[in-house]
Amino acid sequence: MSATTQISAAPRAGKPATSELQRQRVRAAMWFLLPMIMALFVAAGWPLFRTIYFSFTNTSLNDLYGGDWVWFKNYLSVRELPSGRLRWSGTLADPKWWNAVWNTVKFSAVSVTIEAILGLMVALVLNAEFKGRGLVRAAILIPWAIPTIVSAKMWGWMLNDQFGMINDMLLNVGLIEQRIAWTANPDTAMLAVLVVDVWKTTPFMALLCLAGLQMIPRDIYEATKIDGVHPVKVFFKITLPLVRPALMVAIIFRMLDALRIFDLIYVLTPNSSATKTMSIISRENMFDFSNFAYGSAQSTLLFLMIAIFVVLYIWLGKVDLGGKEKN
């Protein structure tokens, strides 16, 4: 590190300061950063590297150091059968994998879209001034505070086919004619997962949107009132563009979370191929089916997919994550 240092909040561009004081500050900073960098390297960097390494071997769970390097065999390989036909194998030729990819993409796209819309709506309600606003804000924090496993169990009970309260209510109202096994039926399993996820994470979206809404100066709205602009037009021409940065950041954080979803599905709809996501099947391969290396290849693919998504999103959406522009 060279000595181009300054006290950060008093930047004087173009004047490299080289005093002993500043050199001392940088030295101290390096020592302050070292433990954190080491911890992140050991807990994140190295394991990621090993996962990618495993994905190119045939390592098994029982013998972690006995694997041989097999290049891309876990990803895709082709073998000619004696009959002359080609046989493809590996994750990329595995229909179960593509089913999981499709489930993950479908779940993420639908849940995040619904959560963004509902979250914005809830935020608009909370942005209005009314009695008991604090209480309402506290109430919507509850789903967020409940552990995912607990909410999966709670909803699993409410969605129970025989004794569940949802079936009871829908029967009474007359919306359904017979009890539905929401979580076990392949046609409704994904719907059940979506409902629980939307319930649990809309508050998060709403709070982030609310923070964005509260930054909009009130006088803008007063001006539109005086000019008599229609509320719908105000929303699309003023509110939405101004809240967009906050919304974009909220959406990417939710999207990243949705793409790696594991716990909710593991507990709510276990062993349902209608909801198995990429995280679920790669863990299944690693630890339940003892295809350790194969599962590592699948998790590496998920990692790649998320990385590409993030880069595209930031690049196309011009998102400023966490206000780097400040200094």
């Binding site: 990621l48 309402v136 924090l141 967020w144 169990k153 309260m165 939710r254």
Partner: protein, 274 residues
């Protein structure tokens, strides 16, 4: 028209509150029912039977699981804050080459899908001999608590006025003294918020806890609840599950309600995962 608008507005407010709160309310109702009462759908409290709570607290390893969760979550928070305070001072207050790159890397780590490090972590944890101990979880939780705490504390420290620090430098304070004597007293609100959010994250974590522990006594609460089973495979003990769920959720809900303003501020500063 104005009245109609008001009615619709309050209807929306009530709907939001009911949907947000009802499932937890229903879990509490269920947790007080035993025997056949549990299979009857009620919307108002009818039974007050503490049988399920007694069953959860007396039988099995649930109390032990709770202690595990408390120990693991607190240690994770302490460890993360310890490393994050000094690191975020360096990241927010000292200008050095590669700082933005480092910040971006930290943000990237917080976006890791946990599954991507699972097999590598499993190997490392086996190698270190901490498989099936609390240390495996404290160690692995660093991956999501540390980047987040560093990120939020950095944002917070960046906004503290420069004059305080300049005064301390003029008085001859070393960087270490600036952190401990000048910044720490100002940072309590931020530390409480980030600590609490990291605690909730560690308390709720499931994938690592499921993978790196293998016996009833070392499990954390979420895994214990997920794996609670009845006498036979087809009989799910809903009453006990709901009692256990209520027990682990009440402290979180209370904490969140007490610190709600701070939590909202922390969430918006860090864009933490929910």
């Amino acid at each position: 028209m104005k009245l109609f608008k008001n009615v619709m507005f309050y209807f929306a407010v009530v709907l939001i509150v009911v949907i947000a709160v009802f499932p937890f309310y229903y879990a509490i109702l269920t947790s007080f029912k035993t025997g056949t009462a549990i299979f009857r759908v009620d919307y108002w409290p009818t039974n007050f039977d503490f049988g399920n709570y007694a069953a959860v607290l007396n039988n099995g390893s649930f109390p032990r699981n709770t202690l595990n969760s408390i120990f693991i979550a607190s240690s994770t928070v302490a460890f993360a804050l310890l490393l994050a305070v000094t690191a975020s001072y360096a990241l927010s207050r000292v200008r050095f080459r590669g700082r933005s790159l480092l910040l971006l890397t930290i943000l990237a780590v917080s976006m890791f899908p946990q599954i991507a490090v699972l097999s590598g972590l499993f190997e490392l944890i086996r190698f270190l001999g901490i498989y099936n101990t609390p240390w495996a979880l404290i160690f692995s939780y660093t991956i999501f608590t540390l980047p987040f705490t560093v990120w939020v504390l950095t944002t917070f420290m960046r906004d503290l006025p420069i004059e305080i620090e300049e005064a301390a430098i003029v008085d001859g304070a070393t960087p270490w003294q600036i952190i401990t004597k000048v910044f720490m007293p100002l940072m309590w609100p931020a530390l409480v918020t980030t600590g609490l959010l990291a605690f909730i994250g560690a308390w709720n974590e499931f994938l690592f806890a499921l993978t790196f522990t293998s016996s009833n006594d070392t499990r954390t609460v979420p895994v214990a609840i997920a794996l609670l089973s009845g006498a036979s495979q087809h009989e799910i003990p809903w009453g006990t599950i709901m009692a256990a769920s209520v027990l682990v959720t009440i402290p979180l809900v209370v904490l969140v309600l007490i610190f709600q303003r701070k939590i909202v501020a922390g969430l918006t500063a860090g864009g933490v995962k929910g």
